[in-house]
Symmetry: C2
Subunit: 199 residues, 2 copies
């Protein structure tokens, strides 16, 4: 399959790109500063990416983040930044990418554990992940031409413990490899409308 991995230069994105390549697929990576450049907060940039790439069999998104900030110190701009990035950005990949995905193709987005488990400063991340999973749940019923839509929800990665360890006290970390396997399972399998939890 011909697969584009968006956010392909991040920790998860690069693990997914390696795993899909190893499984014999043709992998294109797109990020703010990669092989193919895209700013997923800008619908025009997303449109230009899909036009440049042409037909693909799968769109994989490993867009990260959203600001970590305690609720009482949160500012409206941080809400806006978080929602327009990982949430609206990934919703737009689906609605804008649909015409470019082959019959029977798929979209796999990135959610995360923070809507299920509250952590300090994680309220915006929770809103992003909760919104995304609900979008997947509903939109997966409406996609044409047997196109599927899933999300992978990782917990904290071993590879990210230096940076995020203090946010996740007592959480058993997973590996980029296990998370990447979940993406391969979504891309190459039959599941639709699912959130594949790696925790």
């Amino acid at each position: 399959m011909r697969i584009v991995v968006i956010g392909g230069s991040g920790t998860i994105g690069s693990a997914v790109a390696s795993r899909l390549t190893e499984a014999g697929h043709e992998v294109l990576t797109a990020s703010r500063s990669g092989e193919h450049t895209v700013d997923t907060t800008d619908p025009q940039s997303v449109q230009a990416l899909f036009e440049r790439l042409g037909k693909v069999d799968a769109v994989v998104s490993a867009i990260g983040g959203g600001p970590f900030v305690p609720t009482p110190q949160t500012r409206p701009e941080q809400v806006q930044e978080g929602l327009s990035g990982k949430l609206a950005g990934q919703m737009n990949l689906v609605i804008q990418g649909l015409p470019y995905v082959s019959d029977g193709g798929s979209f796999t987005l990135t959610s995360g554990i923070l809507n299920a488990v509250p952590v300090r400063g994680g309220a915006i991340a929770a809103a992003i992940n909760g919104g995304l999973e609900s979008f997947v749940h509903v939109a997966s019923h409406e996609l044409p031409r047997d196109i599927r839509l899933n999300a992978v929800s990782p917990t904290v990665l071993e590879e990210s413990l230096d940076k995020y360890g203090p946010v996740f006290p007592g959480f058993e970390p997973t590996t980029g490899r296990r998370v990447a396997d979940a993406f391969l399972r979504s891309v190459a399998g039959l599941e639709n409308g699912k959130v594949i939890r790696i925790w």
Copy 2:
């Protein structure tokens, strides 16, 4: 208690305002064109509202909607419109309203059934409600001064069947009165971090 009902001129908002008044509370209503005007998509307008009202014991939001549109026909502007309205709008009411809410006060937001049950054209509404419920789940742990945060999730109202009936085939409708009771329960009770489902 002194309570502001934002979105107080809509079907749910006016039912809630009546119910809270009946229960003996002082109710202020705010909407795009009501007693107190506010545009909840604009953080400056929200800030000005809270400064004008001064201290309140409870903030109730009955902000509605988000566009109904099948996923394949959705445009990025509609995603943006939906997320900045009912989702970011209600998150901002909490983070901006906090300094104006009395010790032991509360926020009660409006979610809805559409993140739990997929309906045609409901993917943006699902993202909004799912995001909002996850935000409530996490942010409720971080509020200072014993301030509580809940959401009410109504199904379709009898009063709205003319407009929304076709979207909800076979759904048992509820009444504005029952939904309003759930808001009173949140405002006057002990619950925190809950989604009170009226379906």
